[in-house]
Symmetry: C2
Subunit: 187 residues, 2 copies
């Protein structure tokens, strides 16, 4: 059933890029491309600096989560700690450690990369580097000045059940929880 | 460790919204908001119409996947079939059936909602409704004119292993695969 088995038959070529709006978080660009059949079209790309996120588990297998208002979707969400890279070439592990500390006050002894998530590659280049952190130590929180977050603990099996029941919705959070839970089940 | 246990202490109030760029796929808006401490700031929101995606499994427990060039991230990706709603109020199940048919030519007898994914709620309101489809019937593909996709089949356990090893990256795809696999394991 493979229709275009050859990668070349799927590939688009970029002819030109222009910034149509230099936003605060994303830079909106329009790229002129040539499609595999030779026709041209415009692709809209939301350019994002990238981010890191942390599945942090304490000694009792509780997940450290943050509750925060996400004005874009009009709800208070439950998410794993996360935040943007400081620069496109920042080590994402450095970013992960900073965001965990800023939002929850915690540091961790053991870090493991779970995966890199493409949040919505149809129109956006955002990658989120997701880490598993263990061996947690409490410290003082120091969130950004426009960041109001509530830190909670939730047993990992409960978090897993809440993803499976459709009660948690955030992409990085759902993927991080399911991967951490599956790792434990398969260990 | 809960710092702002009360939802009101997390809530932002929207004072004004303005469209800063009416794009092709997203409408970029800046919203003036009042933070919980009374200060004001601007939140950037990428407004998206929403989408549906389909975890389609054949009678041999193979997943139906599409390979396509995602110019935003510069790679050919492996994803579950998906596409945008035709209108904000379109029934997402109607959209899911259309996208499965357009991209793969298939129809399905049995549909089940898995979840609704918020792809990246820090700056975007995109929701993706993810369905599980079974009882597949082959038909003819009719992709959009700017859409070049390669349809492949992959055993669900292999797809699961490729998510866990970090080899698949697309958010809706990873979440759909892990949820479908976990459902089978727990059945």
């Amino acid at each position: 059933m493979s229709t275009y088995a050859n990668d070349a038959q799927l590939s688009e070529t970029i002819l030109d890029k222009k910034v149509v709006y230099p936003g605060l978080i994303i830079r909106l660009e329009h790229w002129d491309v040539t499609l595999p059949d030779g026709t041209q079209c415009v692709r809209e790309v939301a350019c994002h600096i990238g981010a890191s996120a942390v599945v942090a588990l304490d000694e009792d297998n509780n997940l450290i989560l943050v509750r925060q208002q996400r004005i874009a979707i009009g709800r208070i969400t439950v998410e794993i700690p996360a935040g943007k890279l400081d620069a496109p070439d920042e080590d994402p592990l450095v970013c992960a450690k900073r965001e965990l500390s800023e939002e929850t006050g915690m540091t961790a002894d053991h870090w493991e990369k779970l995966t890199v998530l493409d949040t919505t590659p149809g129109f956006c280049n955002e990658h989120i580097h997701i880490y598993l952190a263990r061996g947690l130590h409490a410290g003082s929180r120091h969130p950004d000045e426009d960041e109001f977050v509530d830190v909670i603990r939730m047993p990992l099996p409960e978090a897993y059940a809440r993803v499976m029941s459709g009660d948690l919705h955030d992409g990085k959070t759902c993927l991080g929880i399911l991967m951490a839970y599956a790792q434990q089940k398969n260990a």
